[in-house]
């Protein structure tokens, strides 16, 4: 069935490419969603269980029989268990990414050590840099700042030694066995919020959660999630969900935080920079390489390799003007934030990029990469190159990555793309024109630098009421929602009410495509007078791009700093979160850790929990008493923005401002 392109997206490039795909008879995500209709109500409501082989079991959502699974589990137990498994999977994805970065830092430090011993050139003391090392510490200042937070001695030590110890402390947080909270959480979290975590068990009437919801080790909480949800283990929705909060906090203040901080150390902390977004960044006469996925460990190297004069020469030999690397999804945001590499689009544009017919290679790593990219690529000359040892795509070219040979492998990948250029059929190229500029790179450090080393100007504006509060907008696209529609509507509705936006992930790419990251956007009717004045005064856009989805931790660190300054727990702040078009298990983990950390969070897509009335009540009400924040589920973006704003105003009132 032919679908109206206007129904699938508000993005003109997606609309154009979607029409093209339909004309060419190429099946895309929207057709596949259509073919899945109707989707199973048990799954939509979260009331099916496959956790043992007495099952699968499902509960009648209308109150009749069957009311219980074979083991006796009721709807709430089943819904809570399923939700905990989603949180665990999301936390696992982020955290495994974080582990990979920590291991890369360790490898970098150890290789530098080895080179030093072998007498090879390693720049001493203030840098581990050397042309022969694949990875170096690019941001020494950040390394020292992180080390200082962790209580690691920096005086009189080489960068290699400090880097090694930071990596070791990080890795220890993954697998330690004691009952203490993880080191990164202790190093980053303000005492008042720490106390909230500590007391959460007591507050929930479960004092046997002795350390509340403080995560003891990143991996352990994930493993315990699987243990608790095994048949015949944990059945009380309250304890199941409390452990969900704990697991998500291991992601927030552990796995994801480690990913962000250590990536900054290895690749540089983002600074404000101007760049471009949307499919229009693909270039007709260049070799186009799309880096797609989540981990910058490889894409950083691809960006470097694409600047190799030999490879550029090769590209020219084949008739191209050069090599154009662009990003997609969070890998795209990583290289966008750090190098201003243009970003071609967000989640629902991965197939659309291939449909341009102008992509020589889509280089993929992990997470949110549709296996369908391989099928779409078959209709063109595009090569899908999978690179992660844990993510293999049938039908793709496998060039698996190894940190120790990073440069070599990156060159091989770029070469494969360049050599594919002659296979491009020029008549079949159609690149949408639209692209948009925007300022990116608002890491916490960059924000501090911009405001003169302190957050006081933002805090004062909030206290004064010029800015009513801050909203963290995050998360995916979901084909169930018209692409970017909710992202943009909610953003505008909040900015109209003088709410300053910070955001990450596919929301950030959406915002950038619509010009929201330009300071001029403050002049539009979508921004209220207070926020407009503030943005102009400081020369910033009314919304700040803080990076990829693991970089949601930057939002947490920011909230933590404001909480410290005002001497309150995070939940007292006029801050809200939203995932307007959520899709992944990672988004479930992020939403949960936002809430657990004290940030009331809106979800624009209904998560699979409605089948459990007690679970719904806990998530949307009881959590206010336990951690001071809860979920708001609202598919209507206008109503959602209103509810978020009301929450901000309530918090202002409670603070007496």
């Amino acid at each position: 069935m032919k679908k109206n392109y206007k129904e699938v997206s508000i993005d003109p490039t997606t609309q154009q490419m979607y029409e093209r795909a339909q004309e060419m008879g190429i099946e895309t995500v929207w057709e596949r969603l259509e073919k899945q209709q109707p989707q199973c109500g048990y799954g939509l409501l979260g009331i099916c269980c496959r956790n043992c082989m007495m099952g699968p079991c499902r509960i009648n959502p209308f109150g009749g029989e069957p009311k219980r699974g074979v083991c006796g589990a009721d709807a709430d137990t089943i819904v809570a268990r399923n939700l905990l498994r989603m949180i665990a999977a999301g936390a696992a994805a982020h955290s495994d990414h974080g582990r990979h970065v920590a291991l890369t830092l360790l490898i970098a430090a150890e290789m530098a050590e080895k080179f030093k011993k072998e007498g090879k050139p390693v720049l001493e003391l203030d840098n581990m840099a050397s042309n022969t090392l694949p990875y170096q510490v690019r941001d020494v200042e950040k390394l020292k700042a992180v080390a200082k937070r962790l209580g690691i001695e920096t005086e009189g030590r080489t960068i290699r030694e400090i880097a090694k110890e930071v990596a070791e402390v990080a890795l220890n947080d993954f697998g330690k066995q004691d009952e203490e909270a993880i080191a990164f959480l202790k190093a980053y979290l303000n005492p008042k919020t720490y106390e909230v975590f500590e007391k959460a068990g007591e507050k929930a009437g479960m004092p046997w959660f002795e350390n509340g919801i403080l995560p003891r080790s990143i991996d352990r909480e994930i493993v315990e999630s699987l243990h608790r949800t095994h048949i015949g283990t944990d059945h009380d929705p309250v304890s199941i969900l409390l452990h969900g909060l704990k697991t998500s906090l291991g992601d927030a203040w552990g796995g994801s935080l480690i990913a962000t901080e250590l990536q900054d150390i290895l690749f540089g902390t983002p600074q404000v920079i101007k760049a471009e977004a949307n499919l229009g960044v693909l270039k007709e006469d260049y070799v186009n390489i799309v880096v797609h996925g989540h981990e910058p460990v490889l894409s950083e190297k691809i960006v470097e390799a694409a600047q190799d004069p030999e490879l550029i020469e090769l590209a020219q030999k084949y008739g191209a003007k050069g090599i154009n690397v662009v990003g997609m999804c969070c890998t795209g945001l990583e290289v966008l934030m750090r190098h201003g590499i243009p970003i071609a689009g967000n989640f629902l544009q991965q197939e659309m990029a291939i449909v341009t017919g102008a992509v020589e290679a889509m280089v993929v790593d992990v997470q949110c990469i549709m296996p369908a990219t391989v099928d779409v690529a078959r209709c063109f000359h595009t090569k899908i190159i999978d690179t992660s040892p844990i993510a293999t795509f049938p039908g793709a070219i496998h060039i698996k990555f190894d940190e120790r040979r990073a440069d070599e492998i990156a060159k091989e990948i770029v070469k494969t793309a360049v050599e594919n250029f002659p296979n491009r059929s020029k008549q079949r190229v159609e690149i949408p024109k639209e692209k948009m500029e925007g300022y990116v790179g608002f890491s916490v450090e960059a924000i501090l630098k911009h405001f003169g080393g302190t957050l006081k100007p933002i805090e004062d504006a909030i206290i004064e009421g010029k800015i009513k509060g801050v909203a963290g907008l995050v998360g995916c696209n979901n084909p169930k929602v018209k692409q970017d529609h909710n992202h943009i509507k909610i953003a505008n509705e909040l900015m109209k009410r003088d709410v300053l936006l910070v955001g990450t992930g596919c929301w950030a790419t959406a915002a950038m495509k619509y010009g929201i990251f330009l300071p001029e956007y403050a002049d539009t009717e979508n921004v209220g007078p207070g926020l407009r004045e503030f943005a102009k005064e400081w020369g910033i856009p009314p919304a700040l791009n803080m990076g990829s989805c693991v970089d949601c931790t930057r939002i947490l660190v920011l909230a933590d700093m404001v909480a410290r300054d005002l001497n309150v727990p995070i939940h007292a702040l006029p801050v809200v979160g939203s995932a307007p078009e959520a899709m992944t298990e990672k988004a479930v983990s992020i939403g949960t850790y936002f809430v657990a950390s004290g940030i009331t969070t809106h979800l624009g897509v209904v998560p699979p929990v409605l089948g459990g009335p007690k679970v719904v009540k806990i998530l949307t009400h009881d959590l206010y008493d336990i951690v001071g924040a809860a979920f708001i589920v609202e598919p209507d973006p206008y109503k959602a923005a209103k509810k978020m704003y009301d929450h901000i105003m309530k918090k202002r009132k409670e603070l007496g401002i």
């Binding site: 206007k6 129904e7 508000i10 209709q37 109707p38 989707q39 199973c40 109500g41 048990y42 799954g43 939509l44 409501l45 009331i47 499902r58 009648n60 959502p61 209308f62 109150g63 009749g64 029989e65 069957p66 169930k480 929602v481 018209k482 529609h485 909710n486 209904v606 409605l610 089948g611 459990g612 009335p613 719904v616 589920v633 598919p635 209507d636 973006p637």
Partner: protein, 201 residues
């Protein structure tokens, strides 16, 4: 008043959550082995006679109504379609010439063409099960009550009784808002559909 002893399958779209369990059960019932794990390896693969159609925020189960004055039976030139002793509309494959007249006249789009064998196939109300006094496979598989089996009198009187109970409770103010996750989901889904179909700006 005469009572109708003919069984029927009553559908209630408000209770259909689109799990498509009925479709699977129907296909298995019409397989050679009647066992799911074997049926999926059979050649040809068994086909379901019931389909769930998503209609906005509702799902509508569609299978044969086993009409009394069945147009399909009347129009069938070879007599392949007939009412069995319980009144179910059956199709004798050996007589079917694949003219598709039944599909043309059926008001519900029920008879389908089996291209492999050149004959039509349709819901037969599970004769083997009826012979054993069991419910049709789809009804048994449906755990939400979207499909019900019985004579029309049985079903209607049951529905009538439920409604009467509700009226009394209403009068006495006893009805509390009963939590219904599916209705909640559906109301949200209505919003999503409205937004997706709405203006793009």
């Amino acid at each position: 008043m005469s009572t109708d002893s003919k069984p029927t399958i009553f559908i209630n779209p408000a209770k259909c959550i689109g799990c498509r369990h009925c479709e699977i059960a129907c296909a298995v019932e019409h397989s050679q082995s009647k066992d799911l794990f074997s049926a999926i390896f059979e050649d040809p693969l068994p086909l379901p006679r019931i389909h769930i159609l998503p209609m906005g925020a509702y799902n509508v189960p569609m299978n044969c109504r086993h009409c009394d004055g069945a147009p399909c039976v009347e129009v069938c030139p070879t007599g392949a379609l007939y009412h069995d002793e319980q009144g179910a509309v059956m199709l004798a494959e050996d007589k079917c010439i694949g003219c598709k007249m039944c599909a043309i006249v059926c008001p519900f789009g029920i008879p389908e063409f089996d291209a492999l064998n050149g004959v039509m196939f349709k819901c037969d109300m599970c004769p083997d099960r009826r012979a054993e006094g069991r419910e049709p496979a789809c009804v048994e598989a449906c755990k939400t009550g979207a499909l019900q089996f019985g004579t029309i009198d049985e079903i209607v009187s049951k529905v009538r009784k439920e409604k009467a109970e509700q009226i009394v409770k209403l009068k006495e103010g006893e009805v509390e808002e009963e939590y219904n996750g599916w209705d909640l989901y559906r109301s949200m889904q209505t919003v999503v559909i409205r937004i997706n179909e709405g203006d793009s700006k």
